[in-house]
């Protein structure tokens, strides 16, 4: 049983099961590490002028993407946001295809047309990321509706920030999902800020989970810095969705370790606050469950994977200019 096949199963007991568990704990760590190192590389390559465009990075929130996607099957779907690198890697977009996309290469997961803000790949169950805040929250209802109408037991997960909960899309999407009992998991990454704006200045209700009540939707608040906590809550929500019980909202309390976008110095946050959250780094939290040696091995593996990804992206061909005109219509 590979980690991703574990799906809704509980942590296994017994001897060989314990080996399984260890491998799975490592796999979760590796998933987060890949995102962290990917983001670090990408940031450097961006500063060096190799990667064009703009970036919204995922450092700090790795436990959410990995914890959620670990529960999902390949034929489950996710929607993502302007900050999609972590979601993409966690759902199974290869580092090569993601990196090449950031480079604007034809081998990218969107053939160079999506770029950082629209990473995604239908073949692994990820829509091109929607960079309109809240945009995924209505579209995901359609994914759920298709699954329901086809009586499949697939599930769709929708990632969004706490800032998105003030959009009309959050409201309409959640209510429709509730009424139709769609197989959807709403994953709110509450990192306290929408761009520079702290949530407490734009919502009198500090917990997004509170809002779910307005729609009769069950909600859970979890430690978004602990991949196992995220995973456990997701497993419950996914199981419930698969059996037709409708949507669940999971609010993951988390923090982005970088600026909102590439040029943000985060002067609207205090050093204390940043330090406090840095101490809860998901790699530290989960790393404590691994041997140091294992971590080093994983680092090496990830480094190799990213070396390869960068090499792949660099050596990939640019799209031909005329390709810009393809793919608008089917």
């Amino acid at each position: 049983m590979t980690p991703s096949k574990r799906a809704e199963a509980d942590l296994p007991g017994g001897a060989s099961a314990q080996a399984d568990t260890a491998a799975w704990v490592e796999a979760l760590y590796r998933g987060m590490l890949l995102i962290r190192r990917f983001e670090e590389r990408v940031y450097r390559l961006f500063l060096e002028g190799e990667i064009p465009g703009t970036l919204h990075q995922y450092h700090g929130q790795e436990a959410v993407a990995v914890g959620v996607c670990d529960v999902l099957r390949p034929d489950d779907w996710i929607t993502s946001t302007h900050r999609p690198h972590g979601h993409a890697l966690a759902k199974g977009v290869s580092a090569r295809a993601a990196m090449a996309e950031l480079y604007g290469k034809r081998t990218g997961c969107c053939a160079g047309k999506g770029g950082s803000m629209h990473l995604g790949d239908p073949s692994v169950g990820m829509l091109p990321a929607i960079a309109i805040v809240g945009g995924g929250n209505t579209v995901v209802t359609g994914l759920g509706l298709a699954m329901k109408l086809r009586k499949s037991d697939q599930v769709a997960a929708c990632f969004f920030g706490e800032g998105a909960t003030n959009e009309g899309a959050f409201h309409e999407g959640l209510n429709f999902a509730a009424v139709e009992r769609l197989p959807i998991v709403l994953v709110c990454e509450n990192n306290l800020y929408g761009a520079s704006t702290p949530y407490h200045r734009v919502s009198l209700v500090p917990d997004v989970a509170e809002r779910a009540k307005a729609y009769g939707v069950p909600a859970r608040i979890v430690d978004g810095m602990d991949v196992l906590a995220v995973r456990a809550a997701t497993a419950e929500a996914v199981a419930s969705a698969r059996t037709g019980a409708g949507p669940t909202l999971i609010e993951c309390k988390t923090y982005r370790f970088t600026g909102h976008s590439r040029s943000d110095a985060c002067d609207y946050r205090t050093d204390d606050e940043e330090a406090e959250w840095a101490a809860r780094d998901p790699l530290l939290v989960h790393g404590a469950r691994l041997e140091q040696e294992a971590i080093e091995q994983l680092e090496a593996g990830v480094r190799a994977e990213l070396d390869d990804a960068v090499e792949f992206a660099r050596s990939s061909p640019l799209p031909e200019p005329h390709e810009a005109l393809d793919g608008v219509y089917a």
Binding site: C110, A111, G114, S123, L127, I132, T138, L145, A146, A330
Partner: protein, 344 residues
Amino acid sequence: MPETTVETRRLTIAEALREAIAEEMRRDEDVFLLGEDVGVEGGFGGAFGVYLGLVEEFGHERIIDTPISEKAIAGAAVGAAVLGMRPVADMQYADFLFECMDELVNQAAKLRYMSGGKLSVPMVMRAPVGTTLRGAQHGQCPESYFVHVPGLKVVAPSDAYHAKGILKSAIRDDNPVLVFEHKLLYGSKGREAAGGFDLTAEVPTDDYTVPIGKAIIKRSGIDVTLVATHVSLYRALAAADQLASEGIECEVIDPLTLNPLDEQAIFGSVQKTGRLVIVHEDTLTGGWGAEVAARVADDCLAYLEAPIKRIATRDVPAPAAPVLEQAIVPQVETIVATVKEMLG
């Protein structure tokens, strides 16, 4: 137009649309309908009765009554289409499309391209248009906004035969298609507005489709080309009748599809007539008539014997009072006068 050998009946546009949806739903399990008040027992069958009887046949699973949430309706259609379903989404009035522009313009139209061509969004959005004494927020003809969106297709049928056939094409199309119909043309009530024309049409009993992207020459003529849709089309035809009695032969073209536009049909006609009048009920400035005029002014300039004229609803919101509404919407007399001036 139906061939003479096929069996036909006369249907209104509303009946024809209903048949199209029912037949497509029978043919393809992936087709479903969603919108406000589309399937409530004892309800309206949609704002204009087009869906009456569908819920009885297909049940609430495939005829989905939604909350009053246009963003959810459009977003759900987009998402379901991505997974291969073929949603027919209903906007009670086209005026409400402004509530789900993001889902249409930023999502439906762009997801395929953003994915590098890896996915498709085979959805239909139906939206009734038309200035019909309901005031500024229930009387718009917003086709032109959507003509401007790469990734969307826009059709505007004006009779039962083409409405049924092109709606079927829209449902089978792998792209998002917006279908705009005119409220006055659904049944027989609009007959007067259409200058007394019979709004029913012969519709084959057998399955058929009408292609997206092909215009229809409604009437042949050599003196001037009139391009018009919906009620304006019937007014153009009425004007052509009047003008014919004075010896002026108009060629009347129903573009049927506004994007992709069948420009060749229009170019061909203008090359013959040398004169072009575009008539639409959408407001003038930035309306789709401008696009038609611009293309002709590029491709057919040498053939033009007169300035290109556009007759459109005046650049104002729709007023409620009948006398005011009448004053802003293109009328037969204006078309007649414009053509005469062009030729005089």
